[in-house]
């Protein structure tokens, strides 16, 4: 039975002939699933098959006391004080890509949304919408990736749900996660708190995730492979807040829409102008090359493991050094500052020494004709 599962998994894997394709051939189920090598409608039906998924896959991977109760809701202990809550859905294609998978994204995405809000992420939920025929081996690989990401981020996955949709009605696997975290004392950050004079820092190279996904989709190959930067940022953010808590005014993770969307949103929310220096933007050569090929601009390309910080000018150097001392912040840079001029508008000094506005993007970036 498992042999069938392996073959199916490889046949259905995106880009299964590519060197980047995940290898499921050595995957063994920790507690073999007795029924089927692929998801069938019954796995979402609330009966025995669904229970098997929970007992043989989700519980062993996510094991924790709250989850093991298997009640309709997880019962949690939380510290007193304020809570933060966030949710996000993940529909990425391909499901597996250089540097990660939908599993890591689903955990890190919600962890990062909590962390940039000034919270210490604690608990997550995980809901799966699976397409009939989706290989169990791939689901297991995704679940294992989620478990590893949760362990790295120091959060627990305490409740979940699985639904199955008919073949052709989904894209293999969709995941929703929601998370709660405990707000740190004495931290007040938010998109409206940027002040003229604030220094703006980014924790590393921009555009890595979006171009990793696009290179796989478009079959682009470069001398060195572009890897997603998908990572949990709560550790790095805790280090920054420990070093400069009260001086940090805004934190955001520039995901969809890239750095441009994040900075434009902050400029508008805070009613300030933002000026950045293009020459200071950290961009990997291979990401820049891929963007040139496709006619895209890295400031609009998604990140999944980067944070932007607006900090009081005197704290800028301290925050920069703290970021660079962290494994996820080695390429951190001061990229610009907040001004009381051109309110609500993001202006970049070009490498030619002229100025241009970076406008918010409308919908998706579209590859050009020539």
């Amino acid at each position: 039975m498992l042999e069938i599962a392996h073959r199916e998994a490889n046949e259905l894997a995106p880009n299964s002939n590519s060197k980047d394709a995940p290898d499921f051939s050595n995957w063994t189920c920790p507690l073999p699933l007795v029924g089927y090598p692929t998801i069938v409608m019954g796995h979402g039906g609330g009966g025995k098959l669904g229970n098997e998924l929970v007992e043989h896959l989700f519980l062993p991977a996510f094991r924790n006391a709250a989850l093991e109760n298997l009640g309709d809701a997880a019962v949690l202990s939380l510290p007193s004080g304020k809570l933060a809550m966030s949710t996000d859905s993940f529909v990425v294609q391909p499901l597996f890509f250089p540097g990660g998978s939908i599993g890591e994204l689903a955990v890190n995405g919600t962890v990062n949304d909590l962390a940039v809000s000034g919270a210490i992420p604690k608990y997550l939920s995980a809901s799966f919408i699976l397409e009939e025929g989706f290989p169990l081996a791939q689901l297991a690989a995704i679940v294992e990736a989620m478990a590893a990401a949760a362990a790295t981020a120091g959060v627990q996955i305490v409740t979940g749900d699985t639904k199955v949709v008919e073949r052709g009605h989904g894209d293999g696997c969709y995941i929703n996660t929601a998370g709660v975290g405990a707000m740190r004392e004495g931290i007040e950050v938010g998109p409206r708190r940027a002040k003229p004079g604030d220094a703006i820092l980014v924790s590393g190279t921009i555009g890595d995730h979006g171009m990793a996904i696009m290179s796989v989709r478009e079959g682009l190959e470069f001398e060195s492979q572009i890897r997603s930067d998908c990572a949990a940022l709560n550790g790095m953010i805790a280090a920054v807040l420990d070093a400069a808590g009260g001086d940090v005014h805004v934190m955001r993770d520039p995901t969809r829409g890239g750095l441009s969307s994040t900075l434009n949103e902050i400029a508008q929310a805070s009613g300030v102008g933002i000026a950045i220096d293009e020459a200071r933007l950290p961009v990997r050569t291979e990401v820049q090359s891929a963007c040139e090929l496709l006619g895209l601009d890295p400031v609009y390309v998604a990140n999944e493991g980067k944070a932007v910080f607006f900090v009081a000018p005197l704290a800028a150097e301290r925050v920069l050094q703290t970021l660079r001392a962290h494994p996820l912040g080695q390429n951190a840079a001061v990229i610009g500052h907040v001004t009381s001029e051109h309110k609500g508008i993001l202006v970049a000094r070009t490498q030619m020494g002229a100025n241009r506005v970076i406008a918010p993007q409308i919908g998706e970036q579209l590859p050009r004709i020539c």
């Binding site: 000026a275 050569t285 241009r356 004709i369």
Partner: protein, 377 residues
């Protein structure tokens, strides 16, 4: 050399700009033909580096912008047909037809796909023998070889379900049309370097001679553009009218002979309507007799198209270089990239989109203030 940073060096750019300042004694109007050049000029602020009298006029070289509305409406009608896969380059999807765009057709259930190469569409046809696959083949001479290759390959593979909705346009007749239009202001051209990478520049000496106008083959990076402008200004000041090549690392006089041979086989010259400009005689290509069976217009007899352009949009004046985008009353008001009235506001190569996206809705003073704020940081 990675060709990424070498041609974006700010110091060398300033040096070339100083040279232009030192040779320019009079005002000159120079048109960059290609929309890619327009975007590079506005994105990098090249026009801000030039002497006040040197005006860059933005040309019609945006394939998306000049594709006739009627053809876009035909594309929408074909794409909406069930059991058909309609393939296009990405930036055609948001171009407004009379009533809709390709995104809306896709949302309503049309199978519209973005491809990076027309050959991907040919592969789709081979993999989906039960479906018609149509590729929307627009563009100048730059994209023509790949489009020609697609029908060549489809014919060789005997694919009866592949066709090309084709609207190719050519640079030399467009230059002639601009120079002959009443009230023309253009005194020199920066030729579109990537067109010349395919076609070479053997077609251009008669144009330079006939109209007594300097033509400079120019690339797309900031230093390429500044060098092209410098050479054009030097010719204008000296009163010469040569064809010069400022893009030697890519362009040769003869161009890509293999591509030209393929183009001559697959296409034949035809009159073409240019959106916003009108019909220019012998200004485009259509499929030749030998490949006519792959013509989507012949295969799908779309009739009853009634086009209607926005009454406010002045894209035609922008494409002819008669006005700057910001001089259109609708610019940034009724017409934005989010609600475009014309194709020039949509395409990543359209002049209106360049002006809007790179902030030319700000006044020069505001941009200058933004700059001084940076300098003092």
């Amino acid at each position: 050399m990675k060709y990424l940073t070498e041609f974006r060096n700010g110091e060398i750019a300033q040096r070339i700009a100083r040279e232009i300042h030192s040779v320019a004694t009079r005002p000159w109007k120079i048109m960059e033909v290609c929309g890619g050049q327009t975007h590079s000029i506005i994105k990098n602020g090249i026009d801000q580096m030039l002497p006040a009298g040197i005006e860059m006029i933005h040309g019609p070289g945006c394939p998306v912008c000049v594709t006739p509305l009627e053809l876009i409406d035909k594309a929408l009608a074909i794409a909406a047909q069930p059991g058909l896969i309609f393939c296009s380059f990405g930036d055609m999807l948001r171009v407004p037809g009379t009533d809709a765009d390709l995104f809306q057709i896709k949302g309503a259930g049309g199978d519209v796909r973005v491809v990076y190469s027309p050959l991907d569409a040919v592969d789709l046809a081979a993999k989906n023998p039960g479906k018609q696959v149509v590729f929307f083949g627009v563009g100048f001479e730059t994209t023509a070889p790949a489009n020609a290759m697609s029908v060549h390959v489809a014919k060789r593979r005997g694919l009866k379900n592949f066709s090309l909705l084709v609207s190719h346009v050519l640079v030399p007749p467009a230059i002639a049309a601009i120079l002959e239009s009443p009230g023309n202001k253009v005194q020199a051209f920066l030729l579109a370097g990537h067109v010349n990478s395919v076609m070479g520049y053997w077609e251009y000496p008669p144009v330079a001679e006939k109209y007594k106008i300097p033509l400079v083959v120019t690339g797309f990076e900031p230093l390429d553009l500044l060098d092209g402008i410098r050479r054009a200004v030097m010719q204008l000041e000296a009163g010469t009218h040569e064809v010069e090549n400022a893009y030697e690392r890519i362009v040769t006089f003869d161009g890509n002979q293999h591509a030209q041979k393929m183009l001559a086989e697959v296409f034949e010259v035809t009159d073409r309507a240019w959106r916003g400009i009108g019909v220019i005689p012998r200004s485009g290509w259509r499929l030749s007799e030998a490949y006519r069976e792959f013509d989507a217009e012949d295969r799908f007899h779309i009739t009853g198209i009634h086009t209607q352009e926005s009454a406010l949009c002045r894209a035609g004046d922008v494409l002819r270089g008669a006005i700057k985008p910001a001089e259109c009353a609708a610019f940034g008001k009724e017409c934005t990239p989010r609600h475009p009235l014309g194709a020039t506001m949509v395409s990543s190569e359209g002049a209106c989109a360049a002006y809007y996206n790179y902030g030319r809705f700000l006044s020069a003073e505001q941009l200058a203030t933004a700059g001084s704020a940076l300098t003092h940081a």
